[in-house]
Amino acid sequence: MGRLMRVELTPRASVAPGMRAIAPILAFVTAFLIAGIVIWLLGRSPVAAFQVYVIQPLSDPWSIQELLVKATPLALIAIGLSYCFRANLWNIGAEGQYVVGAILGSWLALWTHGTDAGAWVLPAMIILGILGGMAWGLIPAFLKTRFGVNEILTSLMLVYVAQLLLDYLVRGPWRDPKGFNFPQSVTFDPSATLPTIAETSRVHYGAVFALVAVIVTALVVGRTLFGYRLKLTGDAPRAARFAGFSAKSTTLAVFAISGGLAGLAGISEVAGQIGQLQPSISPGYGFTAITVAFLGRLNPFGILVAALVVALTFIGGESAQILLKLPLDLTQAFQGILLLCVLSADALVSYRIRIVGRGGGK
């Protein structure tokens, strides 16, 4: 008899309440173990790597600030994406919305450059940044609601359009004439620069925006009809229509919100961290934020924690590259391992694995 074993997931009748809390911790331990094995296979000491990846950044004040700086755009974008993902809409193009937000906000900074325009410049830049990201996000939303075009494809393709647009601008019309032909804009005036939260700190006000976004989102998701509308649209679209929630306006709203927050992250990064426009203004925050959103299970506070953890892997990855000569790609691999472990842990909390032999008894 051909005995074909197969693996089945069967729902658990009841879930121990403690398990839901412990699962992510177990997932982290597992992810570190797997990463340790990979590092060991690469011929490095896993213990030293753990030291460089985790212990060192967390014990050094400079690194901790760096951590907050990197976590800021991740948290802002991921919070925005959580609106889309809750409603089962797939905005994969936050990177592009981030870039367009940065471009539109920077336009004002460059236009007012050297004019001593006053205190209104920075707030106006931030608003333009939000509007830019929003507009870019609304393109796939409009194409979906009007023509039924798949939003995954359009939002992703618009990332490349945005990046090439940025590239063109900093190499062409917006290039600093005194910049020795480097592809970058002039450095923003102080009135167009997002200040740091303390004088000695590197952490800029973007971190405050991220915190506000987390708190407001927690309120929206848990307490408002709009939050329930997203949940219902995601979980039971027909019931959402029955409730009178129009799918079109939901789609437009969540893309506007996630695009707007990505644009805010973009302009905050350029005005607060980089200080000028250059061809590359993101190490892929818009894509990594997708991981962050799911690591945080679409929960605003979970996303905040996940953004910090993923930021840690960025910083640890950079030091590991310098100190241990480990490839930078390992950071992305680790982010992937972490996501898979967390998702598996989630599944295993609600389901148990059963190995079934075909035709046989147990």
């Binding site: 009748a13 408002t224 009809l225 329930y228 019931a239 029955f242 409730a243």
Partner: protein, 514 residues
Amino acid sequence: MTADVSSSRPLVELKGISKRYGDLLANDQIDLVIDRSEIHALLGENGAGKSTLVKILYGVIEPSAGQILWEGQPVTITSPVEARALGIGMVFQHFSLFDELTVAENIAVALSSDWNLARVRARLGDISRAYGLALEPDRAVWTLSAGERQRIEIVRCLLQNPRLLILDEPTSVLTPQEAEHLFVTLDKLAADGCSILYISHKLEEVRRLCRRATILRGGRVVGTLDPRAKSAREIAALMVGTEVGEVRSGLPHQPRGEMLEMHELSMPAGGLHGQPLHAISLSARAGEVIGIAGVAGNGQSELFAALSGERPADRPDSIRIAGRPCGTDGIDARRRLGAAFVPEERLGHAAAPTHRLSENTLISHATAEVSRSGFILLDAARRLAQSIVRGFDVRTPESDPQARKLSGGNLQKFVIGREIIRRPKLLVVDQPTWGVDAGAARLIRQALVDLAGEGSAVVVISQDLDELFEIADRMAVIHQGRLSPLRNIGEWTKEAVGLEMLGEAQLHGASHAG
């Protein structure tokens, strides 16, 4: 072969089957014997443990205790695949079909690999003709009505020549003629040696088909009897635990103003195989129950969508609710005019399966007392859910459970209660008692009649003719998107309705219309 020895043994024997979910004992020491060629009825209210028991037999869930003997041999059935290998086929009440696939593909995926599409298509024709289960093999399932979907499930099992066929409420979406066809089929199958476990709430059906019925209540067997030797009332009393009464007609009422006027509404088909509506005129006055009879797939879902505003019409004055033109308005605006709606599909349409009952109140009360300026009033939602649960005898496994944890009948009581508690001026219900046990069905019908008695207009779209004759004041029949004239219930005979359902009365009917 030891046919003589084995034929004296029953086909299946369940001994002391128990299933515990936490504190809830869903099955308590159940014994059940099914003989060869027997059509055995399993009767009981929703929540009595019938679904749990048959899922154990079909390998979907594991029993906590007890033994299953198949032809006298103890067996452990750990999956539906194993159940099918033994020769057990099951037609579920909730369909397990892939919406995007065609009828033939849906059948082929469930069968073993030696069934290819060509073979399925060939056999499908034979089966459809033999058993009166009309199906087009190449239609996508998402375009089919509930009735047609169930036919796929039935045919799918029959193609496997099962030795034991389990049917869970199979006739709930069939026409009387189709149901009679099915009974003939089942009799024939039984005569050919297949045993049948028949789950139903319709006592007349059980008495038509079965010589032995096992009755469950609260997870225990409360009796095994010959349903033909007992009156329907006695059997129902065993099931429900108390005497079942007739639905009282509402207070003596005189229909007053028009709450719903639909004037010559036409609507193109929604999907590829949807049913267009042709010049439908309909009215409902305060204080009366309007019945819409018809066979599944004749435009009922489209009529419901047009009434609810899920598909708005072209002209505002094609629909008036409480005198106000609202044809182009959405469902929300119509709710604000005092209308309320209960769609056919409980899970996914009327209620979100994974949401708690309190959250599910938001679906139709979003504009009412459970929210204020965009914020949800969680306590108010919980209290509302509680009062629906109490007011409509909804039995829940815990306080404020997810909707999917309720049995079909209890969830139906909840979604109907959710609308009635708003005291709507107009209530439109599609298939109010589909797949619901006798006790719940009676409660629901009573609630609908009472609502009309208190001065609301109630429109009931139903395939259950007995139900409509019991509660409707006026009735019309829908056939291929056209509605017959509304007539007082006393002017209808079952034969006349049957003719309308088949489209035979269109010619004769015209002369009667006033």
